[in-house]
């Protein structure tokens, strides 16, 4: 039984307001016992693998982007059986309402939500503002571990094509809109990695030619919530030049920051076809003979050779 979506003025302006919940909504749902009866499963997903253990929203389970969602050997996500096993162990069934929240303006939470969507999990939502907003509002956190009643989750094969782009897809996509969500220094090629993340570097710096630079954090307000529909439109329509109905690919360095942007484009602005290129710069910037533009200009498409 799906839990009714939240209605408020800010969310109502979004294309798919049912994909977000506020801290207030969540607190009420928890107080009403939604997590206790299994209809709602609350998931925390952070960059730091131990942050959940320092205190989490009561009733939340933890899913780590790296150890739980990525395949251990191949650079890929877990497969259907592994995802089914993970979901079941976290008390998630196919019809559960899953609410995900995390640190850093939901950067990793959006990534986890995107992976859930690869498996077609229907009702998965983000807590607007994430962990920091919940804590800033002085709401309950606990270090008590959450007792999980294992659920049953069917083995569903991943469906990558609708929301995930591979390198060849991006090459074929050239000429259509691309959003680069990295920092301006990474975009221009001044840096080949994010400040403080040199382990995720690349051989070449720059960006995919014609990509617009809209650093992911600009979609988030000071308190970590998503900006209003008007503000997002100013950013992606006016500034980046997207037009309604565009087929868009977003990328960053490993696909996590661009998940945050993917969510904004897909669910808040309602672009039907938005794909996240998770290979991102750690693949493109290391690939042989792919076109690269340097500097702060978008650059031109390469001519055929």
């Amino acid at each position: 039984m799906p839990i009714a979506a939240e209605t408020n003025k800010k969310f109502a302006a979004y294309a798919h307001p049912d994909r977000l919940v506020s801290t207030h909504w969540l607190a009420d749902a928890l107080a009403a016992g939604a997590a206790a009866d299994g209809s709602l499963v609350l998931v925390e997903s952070d960059e730091d693998v131990l942050l959940y253990e320092t205190g989490h929203i009561p009733g939340a389970v933890k899913i780590d982007w790296h150890t739980d969602l990525n395949d251990e050997v191949t650079r890929d996500y877990v497969d259907g059986p592994a995802f089914a096993q993970l979901a079941a162990a976290k008390g998630i069934s196919r019809d559960s309402t899953v609410v995900i929240y995390g640190d850093k303006s939901n950067w990793w939470a959006a990534y986890a939500l995107w992976v859930f969507t690869l498996f077609g999990h229907e009702d998965v939502r983000l807590l607007d503002g994430g962990r920091d907003k919940w804590i800033a509002e002085g709401r309950d956190v606990t270090t008590k571990s959450t007792k999980v009643e294992p659920a049953e989750y069917p083995v569903v094969e991943r469906s990558d094509a609708p929301i995930r782009a591979f390198k060849d897809d991006v090459l074929a996509h050239l000429g259509n809109p691309l959003i680069d969500v990295r920092s301006p220094e990474e975009y221009s090629g001044q840096r080949t990695h994010m400040p403080a993340y040199p382990q995720e570097g690349a051989m070449r710096g720059g960006h995919i030619p014609t990509a617009a630079s809209i650093p992911w954090g600009r979609a988030a307000a000071q308190d970590g919530t998503y900006r209003s529909r008007d503000e997002l439109e100013a950013l992606y329509l006016d500034e980046a030049g997207l037009k309604p109905g565009d087929d868009v690919v977003a990328y960053c360095r490993i696909g996590e920051r661009s998940s945050h942007t993917w969510f904004a484009l897909k669910y808040l602005l309602g672009f039907d076809t938005v794909r996240n290129y998770d290979g991102s710069w750690t693949e493109w910037g290391n690939a042989v003979r792919v076109p690269i533009a340097k500097g702060s200009e978008r650059g031109d498409l390469p001519t055929a050779r």
Binding site: D48, V49, H66, P195
Partner: protein
């Protein structure tokens, strides 16, 4: 059984503690180390420029080393600063603090660079995150070596 004869006793004890545990318990132990990392002394909190950032860590980590003069030989003191919302980084700093603080420079320089691997955390926290800890140890050793050269010169 891995033998680690070159590790100083305090660090060897920590490694043994980690190795005696299973994976989830190792994470818990790392969390305890994150809580026991001592705060900076006031003279350093007032002078953040004296600390150096370890950029290889995913979260902001600052550290510095000082040489403390003693009649029976100088020892190295370690100081770390990492935010509470970065418990993994703090945990690594806590391990290095408890294992290395107050040792002579030669002991610290003799620690093998792959010491962090001995904690058995690589699978639980991923190789990516382990690199932060190796970088932290590397930075400490470089700073200790540089301090030694400075005082010798």
């Amino acid at each position: 059984m891995t033998t680690t004869p070159v590790l100083p006793p305090a660090l060897a004890d920590i490694v043994d503690d980690f190795q005696a545990l299973d994976e989830p318990e190792r994470l818990q132990l790392l969390l305890e180390f994150s809580r026991s990392l001592p705060p900076l002394p006031e003279r350093l909190t007032d002078h953040p420029e004296l600390l150096e950032q370890v950029v290889e860590c995913q979260t902001p980590l600052f550290l510095t080393v000082e040489t403390e003069k003693h009649d029976d030989g100088d020892v190295i003191r370690l100081f770390f600063k990492a935010p509470p919302e970065a418990p993994t980084t703090r945990g690594f700093a806590g391990v290095l603090h408890e294992g290395l603080d107050g040792l002579p420079a030669t002991d610290i320089l003799a620690i093998p660079d792959d010491m962090p691997d001995l904690l058995g955390l690589t699978r639980a926290i991923t190789p990516l995150r382990m690199r932060g800890m190796s970088a932290m140890l590397g930075r400490i050793k470089r700073k200790v070596a540089a301090a030694g050269r400075a005082s010798a010169g």
